[in-house]
């Protein structure tokens, strides 16, 4: 353990990890949105396909 750690504000040491976690969470949301968009694109396509089959 380095001595300087004992002297810095205990809260500020955690800033970096929050920045990284927020970035990871942001990416997770980004990919989730893409996945949702792809899924809704295909499900819309499926819906378009279904009526002709029924009629």
């Amino acid at each position: 353990m380095h001595l300087y750690i004992l002297y810095i504000d205990p809260g500020s040491g955690s800033y970096l990890v929050q920045v990284i976690i927020a970035a990871v969470l942001g990416l997770a949301v980004y990919f989730k949105n893409i996945r949702m968009r792809i899924r809704s694109f295909f499900s819309r396509k499926n819906k378009d396909e279904i009526p002709p089959k029924d009629s």
């Binding site: 809260g11 990890v17 920045v19």
Partner: protein
């Protein structure tokens, strides 16, 4: 001035402090905190949180009671009848306290404020629910910065909960060893390998641990945003909501599982109900409460009950029950009578011992004495002396050696308890109490007594 006592634990924050005057707790707001306090009020955050019962209600007293030069305002908060500490809470209580803290952060950010610290000592239990008590924890929010109290939140809420979840133990042993939170490097070592498979754990524990070793510079961060902060808070919320330490112990379902379960309980219920009617006052301490069957009887008779048991799972079950039924007058706590919470903190006076906090009119000790006397070799005289220290009235059960449960205790032990008899028990307790009622549980050897302090009868 003479009867004004500054609370010994209230020294960390220059924004103000707690003091006691004529048996009431007050909070002084110092000038240095004035702008933040005014924002707390003018933003509507204080009234919103009080209305949602998340923040302890308080009245402003415009009197400088301590004649202090730093004085800005005095607050008279709603009084907490029994102060409890996180190392006395069960898992679910801790979980609710953590979720309360996160909820307050979310609501605060919306009103342009944030919590500058996040410790479970800022939470107390009132009317069955957790409530945030530190009115001076709020500060103006700067959206460009991450949450200053994140690490403290992790160490004092998230990590104990995670360790408890993965090891299926209570949180008390962890918080007794680390009353101010468990450091990230210790948590990382104590968590099992499989916890790394949980993305939340790998980010908040293992990544944080790695960074805490490396970062030489606290880092100049000014690229955060409100959105990022809210994502982080929701992420923590999601992780905590999924945690659960349920495990079967020897004490869970003690009554339901006992051979003579239902019928025996019915008879005992009738006896205890009768005795409760003869108890004066309105405060009861239920020692060895198990899942609170008898605490509920007392609560139904409008007593304010503090129900203690050493088993975390039992207190968990009791807490869940009172939450579900919306019972406001039972406070369940995990206390081991053989090792109750000591006085702790700087100079031993930041947090009072469990014994020093007991103010009760009566004590219920049902199916407890044989565990202390035979299970742990405590002489009956020491038990009587201990109970006399804080109980004016006792509803106490004597379980003699003939009883099946005592037989069970003696199965693997040498019977070194020749004095453990009903006569000796009565003689010992008569030295300090007067036995006013004595009822035998039908078809059992057990006897339940109502006793009153000798001086008071």
């Amino acid at each position: 001035m003479a009867d004004h006592i500054r609370h010994p634990a209230s020294y960390k924050d220059p924004s103000g402090f707690i003091f006691q005057a004529s048996e009431k707790f007050y909070r002084q707001v110092n000038k240095i905190y004035a702008a933040h306090y005014d924002l707390l009020i003018s933003s509507g955050l204080s009234s919103l949180l009080q209305q949602k019962k998340l923040l302890l209600a308080h009245k402003e007293v415009k009197e400088n009671m301590l004649h202090s030069g730093d004085w800005y305002l005095t607050l008279l908060p709603e009084q907490i009848p029994f102060t409890s500490y996180p190392y006395e809470w069960c898992f679910e209580q801790m979980k609710d306290a953590a979720l309360l803290t996160l909820e307050i952060v979310k609501l605060s950010v919306d009103k342009g404020m944030i919590l500058k610290d996040a410790t479970p000592y800022n939470v107390q239990f009132l009317n069955g629910r957790p409530v945030f008590i530190d009115t001076l924890s709020f500060e103006k929010y700067d959206p460009s910065l991450p949450w200053i109290a994140y690490r403290q939140f992790c160490e004092s809420f998230l990590f104990p909960l995670l360790l408890s979840h993965y090891h299926k133990t209570g949180i008390q042993p962890f918080l007794n060893s680390y009353p101010n939170g468990i450091p990230v490097n210790v948590t990382a070592k104590l968590l099992p390998w499989k916890s790394r498979l949980n993305p939340g754990v790998s980010l908040h524990v293992f990544l944080q641990n790695k960074l805490s070793k490396k970062s030489k510079n606290a880092g100049q961060v000014n690229s955060f945003s409100k959105n990022k902060l809210l994502n982080l808070i929701s992420h923590l919320e999601g992780i905590i909501r999924d945690l659960d330490n349920t495990d079967k112990t020897e004490w869970s379902n003690y009554y339901a599982d006992s051979i003579s379960g239902g019928e025996y309980l019915g008879k005992k219920e009738e006896i205890v109900n009768n005795l409760l009617q003869k108890v004066d006052g309105r405060k009861i301490l239920d020692l060895g409460a198990n899942e609170g069957f008898f605490s509920h009887l007392a609560a139904a008779k409008n007593f304010d009950v503090v129900a203690v048991d050493k088993d975390d799972q039992c207190i968990n079950t009791l807490y869940k029950k009172i939450k579900e039924k919306n019972i406001t007058n039972i406070l369940p706590l995990c206390i081991d009578l053989l090792n109750p919470s000591p006085a702790s903190g700087f100079a031993h006076n930041e947090r009072a011992s469990f014994g020093a906090r007991i103010h009760t009119d009566a004590v219920m000790a049902l199916a407890l004495i044989h565990h202390l006397a035979i299970g742990h070799n405590l002489p009956l005289s020491r038990i009587a002396e201990y109970l006399f220290g804080f109980s004016h009235q006792l509803i106490i059960e004597f379980v003699p050696k003939e009883d099946e449960k005592v037989q069970l205790l003696l199965q693997n032990k040498k019977d070194i308890y020749p004095e453990y008899t009903r006569e000796h028990f009565e003689n010992i307790f008569r030295q300090r109490f007067t036995i006013t009622e004595k009822v035998q549980v039908p078809d059992k050897y057990r006897i339940i007594y109502l006793m009153k302090r000798s001086t008071e009868t």
